[in-house]
Point group: C2
Chain length 690, copies 2
């Protein structure tokens, strides 16, 4: 969508810009006309429905059904937490890979869900009616309550229906321009079927992350199970097209892009550039150093730190390049131009009189945000308490307090509709590593003391006679919250159980709760509320001027995007859109992370060096799209998205059609690997391949 | 000086700004008129000469003579490397402190010098004559050669003189506006006499660094020895004034501010903001995390990492706040205004015709710098090879090659005049810790691979079959360069010895030398040369407009600054300029870094709780001023500078008279501690105190 906004604006100012396929479109407002105009193609509603219900939202990624019996294709890195959950010091599944040759060997992923979007309802009119005429603060509170009521009513109505109970989630599109209820069928039971070794899934590791050409088999296979404990029946699925797509072929990505900031104002982008991103990067870089050094203390330390380190390094690369994008004067200048054009529209159009200056309102709120940002980040957002045990403790402490309130009065993450997910996360039997807990908690307490200062109230309260290390040691060693049974007891025991608990982690969470809630309330009333009100005004203006020809920012809800298989020109170099197996072996150093697994070396002679491996397209995707299917016009799966090139990171703020590329695993290597390396006959048969 | 520049510019534009005492003045251009006008005071040339020759430049700090027998007062953190040098796993002098009750117990600081500025000669005319009419690249080379010749001639002339051989160093003031030869008497033999425990020297540690109020006894005492191995005779020294200065009293700081960037153009400041500072901070933050985690692996690890960690944390705090300052739109706007005013002067003044647009020249060079900056930083500046052993290896490899060339053809750090310092650093018997070497080298190789990319030539050359860890292990374990005797042999053996060496660290340094030299040459010819030429033009314009009423940027050469004892207003809070002993004990948590040493707790009852501890002034100081004497109008020592408040960090780019404060140890606590805590009778007697 970002491309259309500047396209139209630039059209007013200068010559029309180059063609591109940016835009993460909703399934309910898909731009058929645009697709026809640009590609001479169309897709019908049956295509849309089938693709939508074949697409899956995992807790952290996208995925798709690839068989009628619930088989799911996604990335290796989307299943890494599950692999980790089933690993031990003796058996490291992340590194070794996994294959269940029979269904009884499939491994349950404790914290994973699979959601399928089965219904979408526009509730904008009801929300707007509820907040009409209210001041910003009250409107913000009322909006949240209204959405909570709508979600609850939707879930209640679905209970006992033949098609099963639904998960209903409200969706805010266009920064308050539209409100929707999205209705999901949820599979609570997701199991691991297959994963290759991390060495081939993430060949090149962090150095190659966000790079192309690439040679990664970043795939894993899961399966959805029904409430009856049997493999789910999934008549809608995507068949693999064995030869992959052609160069320049029209292709679609269906998935859940996490978030983009393309409709933010210049003031908001400046806060990201000057405050949020630099501070986050400093903290994350230090944590990276601590993780790496910890990993060098032994094989087990190395194993348990691998998953969090991978996630952190990925996030650092993303945010570092986001910061670079925002430091690029061209981007900021374009944003200023867009903003000026929209402001000019407001000034010129009598129908928009009364809009006021929402851009200035947001700029004022941003000033307040900068004041609140440190305590808000450390106390409420948890940057001061980076620990799984603390997260459990906060959930228990807040969960008890919130559940005793009326549903609409609760913090949104404890509303009835949200509780099943909260509970699942809280009670999942995932391993807790005390050494890692100490590392992250001590680190975050130390940084909280540094950034808030030794004389800040929360710091004095916690550390007037303690150091970050001593406080951490007593909290982690003394806590029993690593045991799911203890958590269950405290969760079910409610406020009385929490009040009676002397668990030191519960005590820590209790100690900072009031101050954290206070700063959250300030943030909501003094930043979120005026920003929400102003953004809604800007959205109204934007609608008036552009309609839905501009796509909404990504919100980790289902979107469909079209593009073509494309290389690009990097400086003076032409980058081809396909890679092949031959170069994988040439590029291997024999040392991590450029080490090809033994399973591949053993069958190297049988592998066709010309097999296509990874490919690049100009589809507009961001984080959250990991695991998305790449689909041809006939609705067949022609690739598995897993990354973008380095320029794609700037896609959070704008889409540069010349440089921004998405990266997928090509289907030929998926089939070749399953067949020749992993000899996964059963899996191939289920996918309809011999 | 910064204040005068905006003062004059603002005078043209708006009302005159508030009064302030910014300006790091040279001793040869001290603004007597200004001092009279603002404080109704003056100092005569005898005062200036005595203060100048009582002030000492250490290798990393400032210091001053406080007795006629070579006794030197400086900060604890300036002597930490020396304390470290004499520490072992059993005896940690950094933590435990040290007191030599007799001179034969004083400990030699292997890498320390004490330089006293005994002569200053303006050589601008000679340099400008030499480069007249040359193109930028040739001018840049010729300038360096001319300065090398002048330094050499100066040193040669002093040899055999009755007053002893001098160290002559060229100084570039006003970015090429003036060139001077500064002549130093050097004491090669500096020994440690006294240091308190780090717990009291740096009470509050990193959390309190750059904060005020403070309670730090950041002092140490050294002694200069003559070539005859006897304590130096130093008739010029500063006597302590026991009661310290009064609030609002006029005070001077004599010292060596390291560097400021107040005369940089907007384009240069933007490069710092967008490129250099963020990248440095990311690397440093990760290294900080690695250091901290390494320190947790044991007592010895904790000890050996303490000194580098302290230095790193200090640098991170500085650069983080520098970045914040540059992200402050007020600062950038002021710089733009200043630049526009100066450009307007050029346009309006026929005498300045032919100046061209040096600001645009610099902006163009900055674009080129951004392209070169990654390979330049990693390969030439050593960010890819962070290791003491590698630094030795590079010195040996380059030293051999450079010493075989004519003096004026060498890289400037290997000119004859520079060799004694190079040799001293190379051969000093400082400890090398293999574990720490591996940590830093592996880290920096890994980041080099990340930032330059796995396919960059240097990365492929070093790591096509190696990982950062494996390459590091073989280089560190296999190297013999930790032994000073081996280094001496290789240094004295020259090119033949280097060519014959198979030491893996020498091999590593040899492997990257050509590429590092290439990028250095590009940087010098395509960035440094045009910037130097343009800056010289701007300096000429500035002189024409403001004369020497603007002080030059700091260059780690001797400066004198005046100000007054001052608190400030922090938000709604009035900060008093003095702290007292009572609050030290109240603020102690019993945990590092807020733990008062046992020696103080043992005599707590004898200490006067009202003794003044630290103080703040509005003197304009920056890093390098650490250890500087604070001096009253009678030339007595009334404090020991050791820090600034958090606002002082922005002093690199501008001086904010409302907020920028320097922080000193007050003299009453120095005497109280020496008398009651450390019972250092001998030291007190030598300082003329009972």
């Amino acid at each position: 969508m970002r491309r259309l906004l500047p396209l139209m604006l630039l059209a007013l100012l200068t010559a029309p810009p180059a063609f591109s396929d940016a835009g993460m479109w909703t399934f309910h407002d898909f731009p058929h006309e645009l697709l026809k105009r640009e590609h001479g193609a169309d897709i019908d509603s049956a295509w849309l429905d089938r693709v939508r219900t074949s697409t899956i939202r995992l807790s952290n990624c996208t995925a798709s059904f690839i068989s009628p019996e619930g088989l799911i294709l996604t990335n290796h890195h989307c299943a890494e937490a599950c692999l980790d959950e089933h690993s031990t010091g003796e058996q490291n599944l992340v590194r070794a890979g996994f294959l269940a040759r029979t269904r009884d060997k499939e491994l349950k992923c404790g914290a994973q869900n699979a959601d399928v979007l089965v219904g979408m309802e526009n509730v904008s009119a009801r929300v707007l009616a509820a907040i009409k005429g209210l001041d910003d603060k009250t409107a913000n509170e009322t909006r949240k309550k209204t959405l909570a009521q709508l979600e609850q009513a939707c879930e209640d109505a679905s209970k006992g229906a033949a098609s099963g109970a639904l998960k209903c989630e409200s969706v805010d599109l266009y920064q308050g321009g539209q409100y929707w209820l999205y209705k999901y069928h949820r599979y609570d039971d997701v199991r691991l079927v297959f994963a290759p070794e991390r060495g081939i899934a993430a060949f090149g590791g962090d150095p190659d992350n966000f790079q192309f050409p690439r040679w990664c088999l970043d795939m894993s296979v899961l399966r959805a199970y029904g409430a009856d404990g049997k493999p789910a029946t999934t008549p809608h699925f995507l068949a693999l097209r064995a030869d992959g797509p052609q160069d320049k072929e029209l292709v679609f990505v269906s998935g859940h892009p996490g978030s983009t900031q393309r409709l933010l104002t210049v003031a908001q982008l400046q806060t990201l550039r000057d405050v949020d991103l630099p501070r986050w990067l400093l903290r994350a870089s230090e944590l990276r150093g601590r993780y790496i050094q910890f990993g060098k203390t032994g094989a087990e330390a190395n194993r348990i730190v691998e998953d969090p380190l991978n996630g952190l390094e990925n996030a650092i690369k993303v945010r570092r390049n986001q910061l670079e994008a925002l430091l690029d004067e061209r981007l900021m200048q374009r944003k200023r131009t867009e903003e000026a054009a929209l402001r000019a529209k407001v000034a010129a159009d009598p129908a928009l009189a009364g809009t006021g200056d929402p851009w200035a309102d947001i700029a004022r709120a941003e000033v307040r945000y900068r004041e609140l940002s440190l305590p808000y980040t450390f106390l409420e957002q948890g940057a001061g308490f980076n620990s799984r045990l603390f997260a459990y403790a906060r959930t228990l402490v807040r969960g008890a307090a919130e559940r005793s309130k009326a549903n609409t009065d609760r913090l949104h993450e404890y509303r009835e509709t949200a509780l099943p997910r909260v509970q699942k996360r809280l009670l999942a039997p995932v391993p807790v590593y005390p050494q890692l807990e100490k590392l992250t908690l001590s680190f975050s307490l130390e940084r909280m003391r540094e950034w808030l200062g030794p004389d800040a109230p929360a710091v004095r309260q916690l550390m007037s006679k303690e150091s970050p290390d001593s406080l951490t040691a007593s909290a982690v060693d003394g806590s029993k919250l690593a045991d799911p049974a203890v958590r269950k007891q405290l969760w079910e025991g409610g406020q009385a159980a929490i009040d009676a608990s002397h668990d030191p982690m519960i005590e820590l969470a209790r100690a900072v709760d009031a101050e954290a809630r206070t700063v959250r309330k300030q943030q909501e009333d003094e930043v979120e509320a005026p920003v929400q009100a102003a953004a809604q005004k800007i959205a109204r203006v934007r609608f008036k001027v552009y309609g839905t020809s501009v796509a909404p920012d990504a919100t980790f809800t289902l979107r469909l995007n079209f593009g073509t298989v494309q290389g690009w020109r990097e400086g003076s170099q032409e980058v081809e859109p396909f890679t092949h197996t031959a170069r994988l072996f040439e590029r291997a150093t024999g040392q991590e992370p450029f080490k090809v697994p033994d399973s591949w070396l053993a069958v190297k002679a049988q592998l066709d060096p010309q097999t296509r491996f990874d490919l690049s397209t100009n589809n507009d995707i961001v984080g959250g799209n990991s695991g998305s299917p790449l689909i041809d016009t006939k609705g067949r799966l022609v690739g598995l998205m897993f990354d973008g090139n380095i320029h794609s990171i700037a896609g959070d703020y704008w889409f540069d059609p010349k440089l921004n590329r998405a990266v997928a695993v090509d289907t030929p290597i998926i089939l070749e690997a399953l067949r020749k390396v992993y000899k996964a006959k059963e899996l191939l048969a289920e996918m309809g391949e011999k």
